[in-house]
Amino acid sequence: MFESLSDGLQSAFKSLSGKGKLTEGNMQDGLEIVKRSMLEADVSYSVVEDFMAQVSERALGKRVLLSLRPHEELVNIVHSELISILGPVDPSLHLKKDGPTIIMLCGLQGSGKTTTCGKLSQLLKEENITPLLVAADLQRPAAIDQLHVIGDQLSVPVFSDKGNQDPVAVCKAGVDKAIKDGNRVVILDTAGRLAIDETLMAELKRIDKKVSPDQVYLVVDGMTGQDAVNSAGAFNEALELDGVIMTKLDGDARGGALLSVKQVTGVPIKFIGTGEHFDALEPFRPEGMASRILQMGDIVAAAREAHRIVDEKE
């Protein structure tokens, strides 16, 4: 697929060589091919449209280096634009000096919230901070057990209240316990829910109101498709997110939904999950993600090299 993409670009721009500048007319075919690639990477349609409009505006009139074919110049611009939109990076958990920092993870069913609780705990433990995990998923069968197993594996305490039916009360009690025990960080593992499930979204808002988390992160499955704009939009509206974590990027998903989520929420992408083990959490790097979504690595590399040489000469 990648080859046919490049082939398409080559022929689309053959006629351009040596023309010197990118124009509306000569960019059209190339933009169309980039757009197609992004849709195939699962970037939401509306996000692709806005992005392409923005890119073509930036690219218009740009000089094409003599050593480059115009399409290489365009793809390079698309790539840089993607990087700048996916950034800036901010892997900090913004821990407070005094009192516990409350982190809440939320998202659709099965996105990776509970596993990510473990991964964040591991990260904190490396800095000699022992968080308290709070089992606020009272919905999924054995969700509490799952968090306890994870806590045991990492030697991290887990607060749960099996008889309790109210996640708001569980979160409150968990936070109180962390204050009492002196944990610097509390991580709330909430139940997965659909963004269109009004009852459960309202419940999430009540937790938010009751314990005022310092950091609310949306955990998004890296394989998500077009619906990402809807779900991320709904979670952001309900909670005012502080960050996004995208999971399951250890496979071959291109992860275009991340661009959708970023555009809709505007909040920083904190980490990506790259496996089931607790150490499989990486700080987000826009460059790698841009390349992954676009999948035109060789063209970008060629263009960059050409620019580097010209910059050196000048």
Binding site: Q109, D145, A195, A234
Partner: protein, 292 residues
């Protein structure tokens, strides 16, 4: 709450009551709506171009176009049968596979309940010996249903749990064994080979088993589901799909290209987290909901 209000896939918006001229702008809008179902660029282009060929420069009405697209989709998804393929004699073995978190364990619970309540005797096999509390999760489901479950220790060989499950089914005269597996990504070669081993071990006990290998896909998934269908079919010989989480706002349109490329029938759809939230796949309902 499970309404479809949040959807912006309403093709009706495209059509004023007096009809609209089918031109480039119209076809672009149509394309956008098609893409939003996750059917993918190629399928969306095919539908768009077909409409273009047939209706360009004409003024059309909603019902004409909707009927046309829905009919095509329904035709593509029309399938022999969504029934489970039962063994001729002895227990029917169903193996359930899929990527992490797609809905395997929950779908097993719901499917088992459905089969149980239609008079079958079920045994569940907790073949996910890897993920934290995966065994406990399936055990809760078996309790809700009131059926037998075979479990192994944490990190036990999943193939041996599968073998014991089939043994148990034979021993107690159950007619269906449903075996859970740990979530895995189709790119993880070793873990994919493990599925083949599970298959072979089951086959040692009952010759033509597993009779069904169900791939659970998450309806929120985008184009990666195609790679999942390919990878799991190759490694585990899938016989059908369960499309989970179709109660959300995602449309699950990616099963269209999957159907085209791999002929895998969708057998069930997941519509929630409760015991009864599963339904047989119906191509007419699905096609209609896709463009609602």
């Amino acid at each position: 709450t499970k309404t479809r209000q949040a959807l912006n896939t309403d093709i009706r918006d495209l059509f004023k009551s007096e009809g609209r001229l089918v031109d480039d702008e119209f076809l672009n809008e149509l394309f956008a709506r098609l893409i939003r179902t996750d059917m993918g660029v190629a399928s969306a282009e095919a539908v768009r171009d077909d409409i273009g060929t047939r209706f360009r420069a004409r003024v059309v009405h909603f019902d004409d176009i909707l009927e046309s697209i829905t009919a095509q989709t329904r035709e593509l998804l029309a399938q022999e049968s969504t029934e489970i393929q039962f063994a001729e004699s002895g227990p029917t073995v169903i193996l359930v596979v899929g990527v992490n978190g797609s809905g395997k364990t929950t779908s097993i619970g719901k499917l088992a309940y459905h089969l149980h309540s239609t008079g079958h005797k079920i045994v569940l096999g907790a073949g996910d010996t890897f993920r934290a509390a995966a065994v406990e999760q399936l055990t809760v489901w078996s309790g809700r249903i009131g059926c037998e479950i075979v479990t192994g220790k944490h990190e036990a060989d999943p193939a041996s749990v599968a073998f014991q499950t089939v043994e148990k089914a034979i021993e107690i005269g159950a007619d269906i064994a449903i075996i859970d597996t740990a979530g895995r990504l189709q790119t993880q070669t070793n873990l994919m080979q493990q599925l083949d081993k599970i298959r072979r071990v089951i086959g040692k006990k009952i010759e033509d088993a597993p009779h069904e290998v169900l791939l659970v896909l998450d309806a929120t998934a985008g184009q990666n589901a195609i790679s999942q269908a390919r990878g799991f079919s190759e490694a585990a010989g899938c016989t059908g799909i369960v499309l989970a989480k179709l109660d959300g706002s995602a449309k699950g349109g990616v099963i269209l290209p999957i159907r085209e490329q791999f002929q895998l029938p969708v057998k069930f759809v997941g519509l929630g987290e409760g015991l009864e939230d599963i339904a047989k796949f119906d191509s007419t309902t699905f096609a209609k909901a896709l463009f609602e």
